[in-house]
């Protein structure tokens, strides 16, 4: 769908600050990966009800973007949004508790994976509707612009949302009003069970251009490319409000939803996914740059500990009461 084709650059030695940056990215990406692998296991065990959609293979995008966001910047995320939420700074225990439908969940067990939100960090909500967050982010960007502050809104969306009319409405409005809205397309090549090229005849780059909106493509295998692109894009948006489209090519390692047997996907596609794993890519880059594997293993064991503590704490929590839920259909002020 894009003019660019993904390319991988050979790893190079890193400066000290690059090492710091990439080790931090590694920790954040690995954290998302390990959380989702844990979710996958919990789901298989029946500890998580409903539907969950994993973003394994796409971790580089929210990690690269969120590095340049503060809690005053807002994001609207997708149904495949665990990484987007965690990269923005969500705590793990209320996150896991929400997945399990517990009272101590960030949404008191009323949202679940598809409807998780954390207003304390500017995370306006995941969305069960494809493209549902786009106009919310656009409106949030309007608020930022009216405030006259230099905050921005990020609208995460998948390539599956490109054929939704709301995307076109929001791109038009953002361009028309010069809204500081960063449209981040996590292009994993699949819209649910169908390939993107069977659903979308357009071209995102040309579409952005048609509205006069700046566009950049990055290969999501390289978190460094995502963070570099995001940094300059977001800096410019803060200086002078305007919309921007950032398209990141990534792969969806798991099914549309957890438990999806993916019979529609060719074996050769599934077999070569590891070659496109942004975490393996980064790990190799770090090792080749001379970072001791023990440092990365230490990160992983700490993450495992953090995750297990959060899972145990979430599992031990009480179930929500229906009477409490029922009393909060409306806000009372």
């Amino acid at each position: 769908m894009s003019d660019e084709t993904p390319t991988s650059v050979p790893p190079e030695p890193l400066t000290f600050s690059e090492s710091e940056l990439f080790i931090d990215c590694y920790r954040l990406m690995k954290r998302i990966r390990m959380v989702e692998e844990r979710l996958s296991a919990l789901f298989a065990d029946g500890a998580i009800p409903g539907f969950i959609h994993l973003s394994i293979g796409q971790e580089s995008v929210p990690v690269g973007v969120s590095r340049h966001l503060t809690n005053s910047d807002t994001i609207a995320i997708t149904h495949r949004g665990h990484g987007q939420a965690l990269a923005k700074g969500m705590d793990l225990t209320p996150f896991f508790a929400e997945m399990m439908g517990k009272q101590d969940g960030i949404c008191k067990g009323r949202g679940g994976s598809m409807h998780i939100a954390d207003s304390s960090i500017g995370m306006l909500g995941a969305n069960g509707i494809v493209g549902g967050g786009l106009s919310i982010a656009t409106g949030s960007a309007l608020a930022h612009k009216l405030d006259g502050a230099n905050h921005i809104a990020v609208a995460y969306f998948g390539d599956g949302a490109l054929a939704e009319g709301i995307f076109h409405e929001c791109l038009n409005l953002s361009a028309l009003w010069s809204l500081p809205c960063l449209f981040v397309c996590e292009n994993n090549g699949w819209g649910e069970f169908s390939k993107t090229d069977q659903q979308f005849r357009g071209n995102l780059k040309k579409l952005a251009k048609a509205f006069g909106v700046s566009y950049q493509f990055v290969d999501g295998i390289d978190v460094g490319a995502v963070t570099d692109a995001s940094e300059s894009i977001i800096l410019a948006m803060r200086k002078k409000p305007h919309p921007y489209v950032l398209e990141c090519k990534v792969e969806r390692f798991h099914g549309h939803f957890e438990g999806d047997p993916q019979k529609y996907r060719e074996e050769s596609d599934l077999a070569t996914l590891e070659e496109r794993d942004p975490i393996i890519y980064l790990r190799e880059k770090l090792i080749r740059a001379g970072i001791a594997p023990a440092i990365l293993e230490d990160i992983e064991s700490r993450l495992a500990q953090e995750i297990e503590q959060a899972v145990a704490s979430a599992l031990a929590g009480p179930n929500p009461e229906f009477t409490t839920a029922k009393s909060e259909v409306y806000a009372h002020e």
Binding site: K108, G109, R110, G111, G125, S135, I136, L142, C170
Partner: protein, 328 residues
């Protein structure tokens, strides 16, 4: 006795409510198609752009889905947007933002935040505007937990209810009957906000209760005058808020009159009247001396031709006939 009472058009009262809300709270902004320099298709927002400027009165492109979604995003980021959807029929294009997003925000996210936005929209026929510019779709929204639905019938109520809707932390669908815009009603300069969910006894009577809302109240009032000649004394309840509706006021009236007629312009089947009838048949069963009657539009799209539309719409004559069926 009210001071400074004057006559103000329904549409102007809404404009005054918007202006006063904007003066009181900088976070109130208006979004809508042709609402700025053009003043809105019915002139409701006339003058507000000149008074408050382009930062607070924003002309929106013809994108209803994005209009309500944008209002929600701004609401979640500290503003109190009032969005205008030019005709209620166009709400269909914004249903995701209203039903799946705004209505769910407070509940689904565990009460972390709420969606303090108002969607103003005109409903109703009488203008020969045809099937896509005349519908009364309020029952759809009353069916969605999380939305508040308001429908005023005169200038003071329009002002007071809109002021309350704007300060309310929840998403409010504010329905304006378009035949009322040019009508003049008494208006007190000291009109205060009116609590959402409170009905008004528009006419005190003892023989039959007619529950209605919005522009339909004129049919009820005309029927009451006619019925008074036959010594039938109607009590008219103006619901004002459709969700949550004022069950207690309706029940109190039913307890006095023991007869109930529900009138609205919307299609009768599955309408607001169906809910009120079912509820009163439940909690007011012992009070009823006659079957509950509903009067609404027939189960057809709104027709275009004046010859058809005049027959389609409810009327005072239909109210009179219904009341006589259960009173005499």
């Amino acid at each position: 006795m009210r001071m400074n009472s004057e006559s103000v058009r329904f549409g102007q009262a809404i404009g005054r409510a918007l202006a006063d809300a904007m003066i009181e709270d900088d976070r109130v902004i208006l979004l809508g198609e042709d609402i700025a320099a053009a003043g809105g298709p019915f002139g409701v927002t006339r003058g507000l752009h000149a008074q408050f400027g382009s930062q607070r009165v924003l002309d929106f492109p013809i994108s209803e889905a994005a209009l309500v979604g944008t209002a929600l995003g701004a609401a979640l980021t500290g503003y109190k947007p009032v969005a205008e959807i030019m005709f209620m029929d166009f709400c269909t294009l914004a249903m995701d933002a209203l039903v799946n997003q705004s209505a769910k925000t407070h509940f689904m996210f565990g009460g972390q935040n709420s969606a303090p936005l108002v969607v103003r929209t005109p409903h109703g026929g009488g203008l020969n505007a045809g099937a896509q510019h005349s519908q009364c779709l309020e029952a759809w929204f009353a069916h969605i937990p999380g939305l508040i639905v308001v429908c005023p019938s005169n200038s003071e109520d329009a002002y007071g209810l809109l002021r309350a809707a704007i300060t309310d932390p929840n998403p409010v669908v504010f329905v304006e009957n378009k035949t009322l815009y040019a009508k003049k009603y008494a208006f007190s300069e000291s009109q205060q906000p009116i609590s959402l969910g409170s009905a008004r006894v528009a006419r005190v009577g003892k023989d039959v209760t007619v529950v209605t809302y919005g522009g339909a109240i004129h049919w009820a009032e005309a029927a009451a005058v006619e019925l008074a000649e036959d010594e039938i004394d109607c009590e008219i309840i103006d619901l004002r808020t459709l969700q949550p509706w004022d069950e207690a006021t309706v029940l109190t009236s039913l307890t006095k009159t023991h007869r109930l007629v529900i009138l609205h312009e919307a299609v009768e089947s599955f309408g607001i009247g169906a809910e009120i009838a079912a509820r009163m048949a439940d909690i007011g069963f012992d009070e009823l001396d006659a079957p509950i009657r509903r009067i609404g539009a027939p189960y057809t799209p709104v027709p275009y031709s004046p010859a058809l539309e005049s027959e389609y719409a409810p009327s005072a004559a239909k109210v009179t006939a219904s009341v006589k069926e259960i009173v005499l």
